[in-house]
């Protein structure tokens, strides 16, 4: 038996020799992982746990001694949990409205559009507009004559993050509600069940994996969010990412920042691993058996439909209002003091913000291209090839994505601020931060798509004499193109809008639109911030439209038949 195992090990080695392309690809990727993923995390832990060359908890203890930091830890967990719950509930309501109600097509399109808006907006958008509406001199406050109200603190942060992150829950839950078999509805009703009972005993239990997954995703997003609490948290409601940011940028305390990052890293990794567990279990929804005629979902009980209708209307109206207010805010002289129309903020954006616009575009484009290529290669290798250390390879590839952006940003400045890896102040460090965080969507899209494609297609190419590289470029890539492009789309959006990691890495040489928005906000230049936001949203929107067009083009011709081949087995 032992001999057999040794034989197998040897065989793996032979496989690497047999597939030199795979071998060299793996070597290159491992080196990249080593530099841009493992080294920074390692250096972060070193900074947090090594004092004078000896392992020590002194740094952590020092940080934990401050009651303010304890409050920040508590605040982070409280915020993430509550946003996780409210975001999932709201996402579920929207998903039900789109998949289970008789709302006309255009109504559903509006709801879907409402959920896309926060995804393509910079992370401050809702905080800015909430400030404009409910902050000092807030529009709604003036309208209703409310005094002594403050948006700053837990409730404002919670509201803003819920509106920002519920679309994540919506996407996850909508997908799972759509893949359920409508035959189950028919079966339940034909067995004498009422619509309430059907909802309680069939629809909700079957969507539990989606609910769990979306709670974890929203929890993780809120835990990592840095921009919203920075603007809306105020002094009364500290959270870890903002505290770490202030420690580093205000007090230049790298060790303290690293220790706080560690406190943030632990729950983030737990959530990441739990999420993998939820996804790892095979969803029973996909096993629907062969269904006959396609039927439609039977709809919801009337009372529930009414509640869903009211919630969706209010939330949609509020989201639209928040975006309208930003648009309006970008055109007035001084918000709520002098409401005369002006172009001056846009003039400012295109004069003084030109560098930020061009830098952001350049960094986003380079990151998108590199990240897509890396995403394709990693997704392909993990889905199709076997090699030693594959599980660790997979885990490593997603580590930066799993960690909160603040942690990654701090890890990067610690790791790359001295020779020979002196990268702070360069474009490289910004691109690397984006690529190794946001290529995750691409990796997942590519492996999901490959799972649908019969390996026999690649074997056919090899058996016809094509090498593994030609097979990859001529057969695999064209088949997974739609998935690649959808990964690319999210990569581009993230590179344009994300801030939590890169806020630590910008410099006089390279700056970003999102950091300009933040600067305007901290200088209380609300109108300027609004104009920057509008420009950013328009750029992202245009880029996104182009990407969606490409996806449609690439998936038109043969996508159907790919599915057929895959499902034949």
């Amino acid at each position: 038996m032992a001999e057999g195992y040794r034989g197998m090990k040897k065989q793996r080695f032979v496989l690497l020799k047999k597939d030199p392309a795979l071998f060299s690809t793996l070597v290159i990727i491992w080196v990249l992982f080593g530099i841009f993923i493992f080294l920074p995390v390692f250096r972060l832990l070193l900074a947090a746990f090594v004092v004078d060359g000896k392992p020590s908890f002194a740094n952590l203890a020092a940080v934990m001694k401050t009651s303010y930091n304890i409050r920040a830890l508590y605040g982070s967990l409280l915020l993430a949990t509550t946003v996780g719950i409210s975001g999932t509930v709201l996402g579920y309501i929207f998903a039900l409205a789109v998949t289970r109600t008789t709302l006309p097509r255009w109504g559903k399109n509006i709801l879907s559009a409402i959920t896309i808006l926060p995804l393509i907006s910079p992370p401050f958008t809702s905080s800015i507009s909430l400030t404009l509406a409910l902050g000092p001199n807030g529009m709604l406050l003036q309208l209703f004559g409310i005094e002594n109200f403050t948006i700053y603190g837990f409730w404002g942060t919670w509201l803003s993050e819920t509106l920002t992150y519920f679309p994540i829950a919506f996407m996850v839950i909508e997908a799972i509600l759509n893949t359920m078999s409508a035959n189950l509805d028919d079966a339940a009703l034909s067995l004498g069940s009422t619509k309430w009972r059907l909802f309680r005993t069939v629809t909700v239990p079957l969507s539990l994996p989606g609910i769990a997954n979306s709670f974890l995703l929203v929890f993780g997003a809120s835990l990592a969010d840095f921009a919203t609490p920075l603007i809306l948290g105020g002094h009364s409601f500290p959270v870890l990412p903002t505290e770490a940011y202030l420690l580093i940028t205000g007090l230049f305390d790298l060790k303290g920042g690293a220790s706080l990052s560690f406190l943030l890293l632990v729950p983030a990794l737990i959530v990441f691993l739990m999420q993998r567990l939820v996804l790892g279990r095979k969803s029973f929804v996909s096993v629907t058996g062969k269904s006959g005629a396609r039927t439609v979902f039977s709809g919801l009980p009337v009372s529930l439909s009414v509640i869903i209708g009211i919630v969706c209307t209010i939330v949609s109206a509020f989201v639209i209002y928040l975006y309208a207010i930003i648009l309006w805010g970008s055109f007035v002289k001084v918000w709520s003091v002098n409401n005369t129309f002006t172009w001056e903020h846009y003039a400012y954006v295109f004069q003084h913000g030109k560098k930020a616009i061009l830098d952001t575009l350049a960094i986003a484009l380079v990151s998108t291209v590199l990240g897509s290529i890396l995403g394709i290669v990693i997704g392909y290798v993990t889905q199709r090839k076997t090699f030693p250390g594959k599980r660790f390879f997979e885990f490593g590839s997603l580590l930066n994505y799993a960690l909160p952006g603040t942690v990654v940003g701090i890890a990067y400045i610690i790791a790359f601020n001295q020779r020979p890896l002196l990268l702070t102040g360069t474009m490289t460090i910004l691109v690397a931060a984006y690529v190794f965080r946001y290529y995750a969507t691409g990796i997942r899209a590519v492996s999901a798509s490959l799972e649908q494609i019969d390996p026999a297609l690649e074997e056919a190419s090899l058996s016809l004499g094509a090498g593994s590289v030609r097979t990859f470029t001529h057969v695999t890539i064209p088949l997974i193109m739609p998935a690649v492009l959808s990964g690319t789309r999210y990569l581009f959006i993230h590179c344009m809008t994300a801030i939590s990691a890169t806020i630590f890495l910008v410099s006089v040489h390279w700056t970003l639109l999102t950091t300009r928005i933040l600067e305007s906000m901290t200088e209380l230049q609300f109108s300027q911030a609004s104009a920057f936001s509008i420009v950013l949203i328009l750029i992202v929107f245009a880029g996104d439209a182009i990407m969606r067009g490409l996806i449609k083009l690439s998936s038109m011709k043969f996508h159907q038949s790919v599915r057929e081949v895959a499902h034949h087995e």
Binding site: G4, K18, L464, A466, Q560, S561, V565
Partner: protein, 370 residues
Amino acid sequence: MSSEFALELSDVTKIFAKDRGEFRAVDNVNLQVRQGEMVVFLGPSGCGKTTTLRMVAGFETPSSGAIRIQGKDMTTVPVNKRGIGFVFQNYALFPHMSVFKNVSYGLKARGEGVEAIRNKVSAALELVGLSGSGDKFPNQLSGGEQQRVALARVIVMEPSLLLMDEPLSNLDAKLRLHMRTEIRKLQKHLGITCMYVTHDQAEALTMADRIVVMNRGKVEQVGTPFDLYNAPRSLFVADFIGQANIVKLPVVAVDDVNVTAAIPEGGTLTARCAVSDGECTPLRKGDVAALIVRPESVGVEFADRAEKGIRAVVISAIFGGSDVEYQVRLADGSMVKASVPYRNGMDICREGSRVSLVIEAANCVFLPVT
């Protein structure tokens, strides 16, 4: 350089790691395939036939043993350097390429000229009866047409060895019968050596020069369809190929090649021993031997009209057009199948009739009971 054998497998073994231990998917397989021969690997699912084929193709590497193609050791040569052609169960046509592009794919990878490619592709498409379909996409073709494109795509490469993995299993019954003869005709016409995997014994019998029966990773028997049907060397082969009655009888006498056994109601029956090497048989007087009787070697007559034979009761009689399929029960309770050719005006023995069975000993063989 042409070798005596197109394909040689020597002690080929494949071990897969499995939970806690290992699984011998293919166990010590030896085989020599002559030029132009059509060898069909037959066996139940999981018997190792497809793994063997995939090792010959180069998709899997043997754990031990050697594979030689045209005399050259190919054991660890990657698939794209072996010069083989592989036809997949689900055709594996590239869905994003037209028929022409699919068929020209290998030629292009090989770097052939545009003109040569065009000529070869149209010749191949004509050969499979698909001239003029070059611009279509795979999803515009029927299952049978897709199968032909898959064939053309392989043939156009003029491979030294054609490997086919259950290529007909996705076709409907009628088309499957038709494609059997098509593929066999094409293979003979091109004189190409072919290794074909199937779990359908009728397909194997009609298409093969030689059949390799596999079971649990091991080769059970290699032989012509005629040999396997008429002289199965194990109960597994007897049972797997065609229909067989396996009747256990006590041996009363043996000689060099023949075994004589007592039949329940008196009398004896003498038939060849299939595992005899001409000098002796492993069976001895007093052993229990298994008599392999094909249903068509059993005659059924009404008991009152027959002079001799084994008494039995009809359990079911199914009229199938060209013949009548009987299920009968012997006195000791064992069941026997009989297939009697139907001629006009013949009396069919109804359920419950007492009948007498006549066994044509010349068409039967004895095997040891294992």
